[in-house]
Amino acid sequence: MRVKCLFFAAYRDIFGAEQIDLELPEGSTLGALIEDVRARAGVCAAVLPRQLVVAVNREYAPVETVLRDGDEVALIPPVAGG
Protein backbone atom coordinates (compact mmCIF):
# COMPACT_ATOMS: atom_id res chain seq x y z
CA MET A 1 0.00 0.00 0.00
CA ARG A 2 0.99 3.58 -0.46
CA VAL A 3 0.76 6.46 2.01
CA LYS A 4 1.60 10.11 1.58
CA CYS A 5 3.98 11.63 4.15
CA LEU A 6 4.14 15.42 4.65
CA PHE A 7 6.95 17.45 6.19
CA PHE A 8 6.53 20.96 7.56
CA ALA A 9 8.78 23.76 8.77
CA ALA A 10 12.04 22.48 10.35
CA TYR A 11 11.24 18.91 9.25
CA ARG A 12 10.96 20.00 5.64
CA ASP A 13 14.45 21.45 5.94
CA ILE A 14 15.74 18.23 7.54
CA PHE A 15 14.17 15.86 5.02
CA GLY A 16 14.69 18.17 2.07
CA ALA A 17 11.15 17.53 0.86
CA GLU A 18 7.58 18.72 1.43
CA GLN A 19 6.09 15.36 0.70
CA ILE A 20 7.16 11.80 -0.13
CA ASP A 21 5.15 8.76 -1.09
CA LEU A 22 5.96 5.61 0.86
CA GLU A 23 5.34 2.01 -0.16
CA LEU A 24 4.56 -0.04 2.97
CA PRO A 25 3.41 -3.64 3.62
CA GLU A 26 -0.32 -4.00 4.32
CA GLY A 27 -1.09 -3.64 8.03
CA SER A 28 1.94 -1.45 8.78
CA THR A 29 1.64 0.71 11.87
CA LEU A 30 2.47 4.36 12.19
CA GLY A 31 5.44 3.25 14.31
CA ALA A 32 6.88 1.31 11.37
CA LEU A 33 6.45 4.32 9.10
CA ILE A 34 8.24 6.53 11.61
CA GLU A 35 11.23 4.16 11.71
CA ASP A 36 11.33 4.11 7.93
CA VAL A 37 11.18 7.90 7.75
CA ARG A 38 13.70 8.39 10.54
CA ALA A 39 16.22 6.35 8.52
CA ARG A 40 15.88 8.88 5.71
CA ALA A 41 16.94 11.80 7.89
CA GLY A 42 20.61 10.81 7.44
CA VAL A 43 23.00 12.93 9.45
CA CYS A 44 20.05 15.00 10.71
CA ALA A 45 18.43 12.03 12.51
CA ALA A 46 20.20 13.15 15.69
CA VAL A 47 18.28 16.43 15.82
CA LEU A 48 14.87 14.74 15.57
CA PRO A 49 13.05 14.35 18.88
CA ARG A 50 12.93 10.82 20.28
CA GLN A 51 9.14 10.89 20.17
CA LEU A 52 7.92 12.30 16.89
CA VAL A 53 4.45 13.80 16.84
CA VAL A 54 2.53 12.54 13.85
CA ALA A 55 -0.92 13.17 12.43
CA VAL A 56 -2.82 10.63 10.36
CA ASN A 57 -5.52 12.12 8.16
CA ARG A 58 -5.26 15.41 10.07
CA GLU A 59 -5.62 13.95 13.56
CA TYR A 60 -2.79 13.44 16.03
CA ALA A 61 -2.37 9.66 16.22
CA PRO A 62 -0.54 7.17 18.47
CA VAL A 63 2.25 4.97 17.03
CA GLU A 64 0.07 1.86 17.30
CA THR A 65 -2.29 3.24 14.62
CA VAL A 66 -2.64 0.80 11.71
CA LEU A 67 -2.24 2.61 8.42
CA ARG A 68 -4.37 2.15 5.33
CA ASP A 69 -3.73 2.67 1.66
CA GLY A 70 -4.09 6.37 0.77
CA ASP A 71 -3.58 7.71 4.30
CA GLU A 72 -2.13 11.18 4.69
CA VAL A 73 0.56 11.15 7.35
CA ALA A 74 2.21 14.37 8.55
CA LEU A 75 5.24 14.79 10.80
CA ILE A 76 4.46 17.70 13.10
CA PRO A 77 7.38 19.69 14.56
CA PRO A 78 6.70 21.50 17.84
CA VAL A 79 3.96 24.02 17.01
CA ALA A 80 4.32 27.78 17.42
CA GLY A 81 1.15 29.47 16.27
CA GLY A 82 -0.42 32.49 17.88
Binding site: A9, A10, V63, T65, I76, V79, A80, G81
Partner: protein, 147 residues
Protein backbone atom coordinates in the same frame (compact mmCIF):
# COMPACT_ATOMS: atom_id res chain seq x y z
CA UNK B 1 -18.38 29.67 14.57
CA UNK B 2 -15.96 31.15 12.09
CA UNK B 3 -12.42 29.78 11.89
CA UNK B 4 -10.03 30.78 9.14
CA UNK B 5 -6.38 30.73 8.19
CA UNK B 6 -5.56 33.57 5.85
CA UNK B 7 -2.67 35.29 4.09
CA UNK B 8 -4.48 38.66 4.27
CA UNK B 9 -4.59 41.19 7.12
CA UNK B 10 -7.20 40.27 9.72
CA UNK B 11 -10.27 42.49 9.94
CA UNK B 12 -10.52 42.80 13.72
CA UNK B 13 -13.53 45.12 13.79
CA UNK B 14 -15.30 42.82 11.33
CA UNK B 15 -14.79 39.85 13.68
CA UNK B 16 -16.23 41.85 16.57
CA UNK B 17 -19.35 42.62 14.53
CA UNK B 18 -19.52 39.00 13.35
CA UNK B 19 -19.64 37.44 16.83
CA UNK B 20 -21.87 39.93 18.66
CA UNK B 21 -25.56 39.18 19.04
CA UNK B 22 -28.26 40.97 21.02
CA UNK B 23 -28.04 38.44 23.84
CA UNK B 24 -24.37 39.28 24.52
CA UNK B 25 -23.18 41.77 27.11
CA UNK B 26 -19.47 41.20 26.49
CA UNK B 27 -17.20 40.76 23.52
CA UNK B 28 -13.53 39.99 24.06
CA UNK B 29 -10.99 40.37 21.28
CA UNK B 30 -7.52 38.95 21.74
CA UNK B 31 -5.01 40.06 19.12
CA UNK B 32 -1.58 38.43 18.92
CA UNK B 33 0.91 40.85 17.41
CA UNK B 34 4.43 40.40 16.01
CA UNK B 35 6.71 42.06 18.51
CA UNK B 36 10.17 43.45 18.01
CA UNK B 37 12.07 41.09 20.28
CA UNK B 38 12.20 37.47 21.39
CA UNK B 39 14.42 36.24 24.20
CA UNK B 40 16.63 39.28 23.93
CA UNK B 41 17.09 39.24 20.16
CA UNK B 42 15.69 41.99 17.94
CA UNK B 43 13.08 40.53 15.58
CA UNK B 44 12.61 42.01 12.14
CA UNK B 45 10.05 39.74 10.51
CA UNK B 46 8.28 36.42 10.79
CA UNK B 47 7.15 33.81 8.32
CA UNK B 48 4.24 31.66 9.46
CA UNK B 49 3.76 28.27 7.89
CA UNK B 50 0.65 26.13 8.28
CA UNK B 51 -0.70 22.64 7.62
CA UNK B 52 -3.82 24.38 6.52
CA UNK B 53 -6.51 21.71 6.31
CA UNK B 54 -5.55 20.24 9.67
CA UNK B 55 -5.09 23.65 11.31
CA UNK B 56 -8.59 24.80 10.39
CA UNK B 57 -10.10 21.51 11.61
CA UNK B 58 -8.15 21.75 14.87
CA UNK B 59 -9.20 25.34 15.50
CA UNK B 60 -12.84 24.40 14.82
CA UNK B 61 -12.57 21.49 17.24
CA UNK B 62 -11.05 23.72 19.92
CA UNK B 63 -13.88 26.25 19.48
CA UNK B 64 -16.50 23.51 19.69
CA UNK B 65 -15.03 22.12 22.89
CA UNK B 66 -14.67 25.54 24.48
CA UNK B 67 -18.23 26.50 23.46
CA UNK B 68 -19.53 23.34 25.15
CA UNK B 69 -17.77 24.18 28.43
CA UNK B 70 -18.52 27.90 28.80
CA UNK B 71 -21.69 29.95 28.36
CA UNK B 72 -20.65 31.78 25.26
CA UNK B 73 -22.33 32.98 22.09
CA UNK B 74 -20.47 33.09 18.78
CA UNK B 75 -16.73 32.49 18.48
CA UNK B 76 -14.34 33.49 15.72
CA UNK B 77 -10.67 32.70 15.23
CA UNK B 78 -8.54 34.06 12.41
CA UNK B 79 -4.87 33.11 12.07
CA UNK B 80 -2.70 34.86 9.56
CA UNK B 81 0.14 33.03 7.78
CA UNK B 82 2.87 34.04 5.34
CA UNK B 83 5.28 36.94 5.78
CA UNK B 84 4.55 39.31 8.69
CA UNK B 85 6.49 42.24 10.07
CA UNK B 86 6.63 43.88 13.50
CA UNK B 87 3.22 45.27 14.43
CA UNK B 88 1.22 42.94 12.19
CA UNK B 89 -1.62 41.03 13.85
CA UNK B 90 -0.96 37.29 13.59
CA UNK B 91 -4.05 35.93 15.31
CA UNK B 92 -7.40 37.21 16.54
CA UNK B 93 -9.73 35.38 18.93
CA UNK B 94 -13.19 36.94 19.18
CA UNK B 95 -15.60 35.68 21.84
CA UNK B 96 -19.08 36.99 22.53
CA UNK B 97 -20.95 36.00 25.68
CA UNK B 98 -23.91 37.12 27.78
CA UNK B 99 -21.52 37.68 30.72
CA UNK B 100 -17.88 38.71 30.81
CA UNK B 101 -16.53 35.95 33.02
CA UNK B 102 -17.26 33.29 30.39
CA UNK B 103 -15.82 35.53 27.67
CA UNK B 104 -12.49 35.92 29.49
CA UNK B 105 -12.20 32.23 30.34
CA UNK B 106 -13.15 31.01 26.88
CA UNK B 107 -10.83 33.49 25.13
CA UNK B 108 -7.88 32.47 27.29
CA UNK B 109 -8.49 28.78 26.77
CA UNK B 110 -8.78 29.18 23.01
CA UNK B 111 -5.52 31.10 22.65
CA UNK B 112 -3.64 28.64 24.90
CA UNK B 113 -4.91 25.69 22.89
CA UNK B 114 -4.29 27.39 19.54
CA UNK B 115 -0.68 27.91 20.60
CA UNK B 116 -0.30 24.38 21.94
CA UNK B 117 -2.14 22.20 19.45
CA UNK B 118 -2.59 23.80 16.04
CA UNK B 119 -0.05 22.87 13.32
CA UNK B 120 1.37 26.32 12.65
CA UNK B 121 5.04 27.25 12.77
CA UNK B 122 6.98 30.46 12.68
CA UNK B 123 10.40 31.28 11.33
CA UNK B 124 11.87 34.37 12.96
CA UNK B 125 14.25 36.67 11.13
CA UNK B 126 16.44 38.71 13.47
CA UNK B 127 17.98 42.11 12.91
CA UNK B 128 21.44 40.53 13.31
CA UNK B 129 20.76 38.43 10.20
CA UNK B 130 19.97 35.11 11.89
CA UNK B 131 16.86 33.15 11.03
CA UNK B 132 15.40 30.20 12.96
CA UNK B 133 12.27 28.13 13.35
CA UNK B 134 10.94 29.27 16.68
CA UNK B 135 10.90 26.59 19.33
CA UNK B 136 7.37 25.50 20.07
CA UNK B 137 4.97 23.32 22.01
CA UNK B 138 4.70 19.57 21.60
CA UNK B 139 1.03 18.65 21.08
CA UNK B 140 -0.41 15.80 23.12
CA UNK B 141 -0.98 12.66 21.12
CA UNK B 142 -3.94 10.53 22.21
CA UNK B 143 -3.23 7.14 23.80
CA UNK B 144 -3.72 4.08 21.61
CA UNK B 145 -7.03 2.36 22.21
CA UNK B 146 -6.75 -0.92 24.09
CA UNK B 147 -7.41 -3.85 21.74
Amino acid sequence: MYCIVTRDPIDTAGLLRRVRSDADGAVLIFAGVVRDHHEGRAVEALAYEVYEEMAVEKIEMICKEVASRFEVGELAVAHRVGELTVGDISVVIAVAAPHRDAAYKASREIIERVKGEVPIWKRERYSDGGEVWRDGAVPDVPEAEKP
